[in-house]
């Protein structure tokens, strides 16, 4: 009975948010297109034969960057900006007095946006294969499923990190500026610009202790068929979620005590 209610709640949230996202389909298509940075990076890597320095073939590298594009499409998070705006405009207030944590709404918004993005991402992948036919491959079902799980875990990690930063709105009002500090390590250490394997080994050992390589590098390597430690990567993703979730709950509970309901 309880699980049925939760299922219905999640399903309705997703359905409504999906309808809402469809209203913004053109905007979402543009967002999908704007996420093609991995393809620029691929171009830089192959034109300069940089892949030879890390012993990855052209084909595997192009698959890696295509997968990085896909993982990014399905793990992009903007909750800090939405929450900050809603908080400043007083829109959080009605959500706070409903028996559902407002972050579930943002979570559903993100998932709905990902579903809306999916066809656009497929179209971009289709064009990628037209220009790079040698990169076409079909991952085996097991790897595909693990990659989907890993991409979802990557999304969860990013969502939790940004939600923690978003909760700082209760103290600073402009939490998005703190998020910008996180943008630099996310960009460089996540594998979006270069596979983490290309970093010097002493740097790599430190990077793997942070959550960043599990955001794009690990799921992209997994999906593209590059050599990777599957159980180690998934365990680290789960570990980060277990570390971040209680931290989010604590900051949320402290932050709501500070809430002044400004703008409302």
């Amino acid at each position: 009975m309880i699980s049925n209610l939760i299922y219905r709640k999640i399903f309705t949230l997703l359905k409504v948010q999906y309808s809402n996202m469809l209203e913004y389909r053109v905007e979402i298509a543009l967002w999908a297109i704007s996420g093609i940075i991995p393809f620029f990076m691929l171009n830089i890597w192959t034109n300069n034969n940089l892949n030879e320095t890390i012993n990855i073939s052209d084909v595997l590298l192009s698959r890696y960057f295509l997968c990085a594009f896909f993982v990014r499409q399905f793990s992009v998070v903007w909750v800090v900006f939405s929450f900050e705006e809603d908080s400043l405009m007083g829109r959080v207030s009605p959500y706070l007095i409903q028996p559902l944590n407002p972050f579930f709404r943002y979570f559903a918004q993100h998932l709905a946006e990902q579903i809306t993005r999916f066809p656009f991402a497929l179209i971009i992948a289709f064009f990628f294969f037209i220009f790079n036919p040698e990169s076409i491959w079909i991952p085996n079902l097991g790897i595909l499923l693990l990659s989907i799980v890993s991409t979802f875990l990557s999304f969860l990690i990013q969502f939790l990190i940004q939600s923690i930063v978003a909760c700082l709105c209760f103290w600073t009002e402009k939490a998005s500026s703190i998020e910008r500090l996180l943008f630099i390590p996310t960009l460089f250490l996540s594998g979006l610009l270069a596979p983490v394997v290309s970093f010097p080994s002493y740097v790599k050992s430190w990077i793997y202790l942070t959550p960043f390589p599990y955001l794009i590098d690990f799921p992209a390597n997994l999906l593209s068929g590059n050599e990777t430690n599957i159980s180690g990567g998934l365990s680290m993703q789960i570990l980060w979620i277990f570390l971040l979730f209680p931290l989010f709950k604590k900051i949320w509970s402290e932050g709501t005590k500070k809430y002044t309901a400004m703008g409302s």
């Binding site: 219905r8 309705t12 949230l13 209203e23 829109r91 207030s93 007095i97 005590k257 809430y259 002044t260």
Partner: protein, 331 residues
């Protein structure tokens, strides 16, 4: 005996406010050394509200009415004192408490802007654990009460303010809360929309015995809905009691416009000992104390040739206005 559903004791709330001197010097100083001070916006207030009561919170802008409502519904934490609403500590925001209350803020919306209101209604219904059949039933009932129909299927952004407010009400009441916190619910609505909203709230209160706490700057909202008012002045309660008692206390006299048959009669009346406010030809306005109104009118009608007579209540806005600027009213 009707039980108290809201019990507030020695409640205070302080906010940290940062201040900045004007000009470039002030800006630089503010950047390096931010000065904040604690401002007590609610000062040691206590009151109780009974189940089914409609209570109006009156006060000037910034008096603290909205802050009180926000604390009552659990949106903000109190600094001192205790609040019990329906047996719960509001700021803990337990699910069972939240399912019992609603907060409606004029011009603040929870409806999804780009979708028709019906989508938000079903979303709220699932948040409050209502099944689809029950949700449908409640939407039908409330939309009939609020007299909205086609508007349910039009995107919110295309609705008028009045239609939007009705939809907001429906969204906020779908879980049939028994305590309603309404902060300026008629703000910006035209006269007809205001009247319909008041009618709806009266009906909702009558049918569900819901307790309603209301703030409004429109005196008509207060006079037509609330028997009891709590006046808030600079964070303290300056009056808590029946509205009609307050009005009697603040305006102990009525104004009576008397149209005499001749100017001569009017002159005679002017010199007969009544307090005259003004006199224009055969029309004279006199002030009579509430407790002697029957006997005074009898005397006038027996002794003077009267063509017409009007008894005027003093404008309620003027009367209430007096309360908002005074610290204490003992009645």
């Amino acid at each position: 005996m009707v039980k108290n559903i809201i019990d507030v004791r020695n409640l205070s709330k302080s906010f940290d406010i940062s201040s900045k001197e004007p000009g470039l010097k002030g800006t630089i100083k503010h950047f390096f050394r931010r000065q904040t001070k604690s401002l007590k916006v609610i000062k040691d207030i206590s009151f109780k509200i009974k189940e089914g009561e409609i209570v109006g919170f009156l006060g000037a802008n910034g008096a603290g009415k909205t802050t009180i409502l926000k604390m009552l519904c659990g949106l903000i934490y109190p600094s001192e004192g205790s609040i019990l609403v329906s047996g719960y500590l509001p700021f803990r925001r337990k699910d069972n408490f939240l399912k019992n209350i609603t907060l409606i803020m004029g011009q603040k919306q929870q409806l999804i802007w780009d979708l028709p209101p019906i989508e938000s209604f079903y979303l709220n219904a699932s948040i409050y654990d209502l099944d689809k059949f029950e949700a449908k039933k409640r939407i039908k009932k409330l939309s009939e009460m609020l007299e909205i129909d086609e508007e349910l299927f039009i995107p919110v952004r295309k609705l008028s303010l009045g239609q939007r407010m009705k939809s907001e009400l429906l969204a906020a009441l779908i879980h049939e809360p028994n305590i309603l916190f309404l902060d300026e619910p008629t703000l910006g609505l035209d006269i007809n929309a205001q009247r319909n909203l008041r009618k709806f709230l009266q009906r909702y209160n009558k049918e569900t015995n819901a307790t309603i706490c209301l703030t409004s700057h429109y005196m008509k909202d207060i006079t037509s809905l609330c028997k009891r008012v709590i006046c808030v002045h600079e964070g303290s309660i300056s009056y808590d009691g029946k509205l009609d008692l307050l009005l009697k206390k603040l305006s102990p006299v009525k104004e009576i416009l008397i149209v005499c048959r001749s100017e001569e009669d009017a002159n005679k009346l002017e010199n007969s000992g009544f307090t005259v406010k003004n006199k224009i030809k055969n029309e004279i306005t006199i002030k009579i104390e509430n407790n002697s109104i029957t006997s005074s009118l009898k005397t006038i009608l027996n002794n003077f040739d009267i063509e017409d007579l009007f008894i005027n209540e003093p404008p309620i806005d003027e009367v209430i206005g007096k309360v908002l600027i005074k610290k204490n009213y003992d009645i």
